[in-house]
Amino acid sequence: MSVNSGDTAWLLISTALVMLMTPALAFFYGGMVRRKNLLSTIMMSFAILALVSVLWVIYGYSISFGPDKGGIIGALDWIGLTGVGQAPSSVYATTVPHLAFMIFQAAFAIITVALWTGAVVERIKFGALMVLGTLWLTLVYCPVAHWVWGSGGWLAGLGALDFAGGGVVHVNAGISALALAMVLGPRLGFKEKETMEPNNIPYVILGAALLWFGWFGFNAGSAVTAGGLASSAFVTTNTAGATAALTWMVLGWINRRPSVLGAATGAIVGLAAITPAAGFVQPWAAIPIGFVAALLSYYVMLWRNRANKIDESLDVFACHGVGGAWGLLAAGIFATAAVNPAASGLIDGNGRQVLIQLVAIAAIAIYAFVISWVLAAILKATMGLRVKEDEELVGLDISQHGERAYGGITQ
């Protein structure tokens, strides 16, 4: 196999685009918390960017993509990137250096761990977050990535379609967020419905816009070639994000007013939903995919807010869990060989694909929920997950990091 310079250039640029999504997520989440927890929330994503980058190179890539062990996990043969070099891999992205594919995948692992931090903001101990992030990457992300994308992975063998991570990234993080929030418990004042006002909605929009931008690398980059398929995924990505943003805006408008926070949320939900389907479906299919994603996610979020039972604070489940699961199902419905010869869904007369997609959703959801719950419960019983009550009241910026977002009184 020889290296194609066009493919390599596109994959490296895509990697940089996906890397940017994690600091973008930091602002997306940071803007929605109270001002006393702005830095803490940003730091969660930023620290995970650094932490997972290193773990991925040491062992994460090997156990995710290394030689298959029973369809469940990769072997440690590629530990410390042994044998992962400038020549292409024989099984993954065979026209680019193996190192380029490895680092592209690193960016996915990073953002997936950062995604569920939205469920634990404003109350988790920073040290516990770092430990949880390490364990979760190792025991949840890496196995699931292997099942779906690893050569020999059991869901890949079953024929499950997940173009860029609707299951591996979004359902995985979304379901885990729910489990983590349930073990961690609600923020002080949550049950009493105390006002928890977003401190900076422009940050949310800034974050959402940069996520949208980075998503072109996420989805079109997942073609791992620079050609027609990447272009097709690029178009479906933009169309689904836009459709869901519009849909959410109208839903808010019917209820009250077209909210800015809502439009930003809608875009992210639509982008999450198109992720597993981006390189399998026609551009027109991105419109129903984005529309239904916004509808489902909106009502799940409304229900969670009104029920006021689980403090899944920034609705990672409603956005990514629901959006990703619908997207996986939609890939089974709308996938067509006219776009990608590798996949045919219901509209090509292959109804079985829908069932395979449902199996993938269920397998990832159950596994991620159970392991996340267990990991959080173990940490809760040992090192403790939550900050002390007075630390929570003061805010995590001061109590965990000794800093504040907005310093000075007058200048």
Binding site: T195, M196, L261
Partner: protein, 115 residues
């Protein structure tokens, strides 16, 4: 000598300031404050659904003037800050012992007057 503390709608500040100025009352200090009265608060939009904000942004206007002027000032503020809806604010009038002008260290009632 009196101190007037008027809590008004932020959007009425310009109207109030101009009306006071027309009657020769120039000196004032303003502060951005949050508060609630009978208006209680408003509902703002969350991503789906809404949340309530109990305290609303207001402007606190502070004026120190003679006893006579204070009656005029209160009257002007009332008229110029009023919309007739809940949330127009409150005015408090307090006695003041003395006033000192920092530049000259003059202590007197005169320094506080607006003329």
């Amino acid at each position: 000598m009196k101190k007037i503390e008027a809590i008004i709608r932020p959007e009425k500040l310009d109207t109030v300031k101009t009306a006071l100025e027309d009657r020769g009352i120039l000196g004032m200090t303003i502060t951005q404050v949050s508060g609630r009265g009978r208006q209680k608060g408003i509902a703002l939009q969350w991503r789906a659904g809404e949340y309530r904000v109990e305290f609303l942004p207001k402007i606190k206007l502070e004026i120190v003037c003679s006893d006579d002027e204070s009656k005029t000032a209160v009257d002007i503020i009332c008229k110029s800050a009023r919309t007739g809806k809940v949330g127009d604010g409150m005015i408090f009038v307090l006695p003041v012992d003395s006033a000192v002008r920092v530049r000259t260290a003059d202590i007197s009632e005169a320094v506080a007057t607006t003329k």
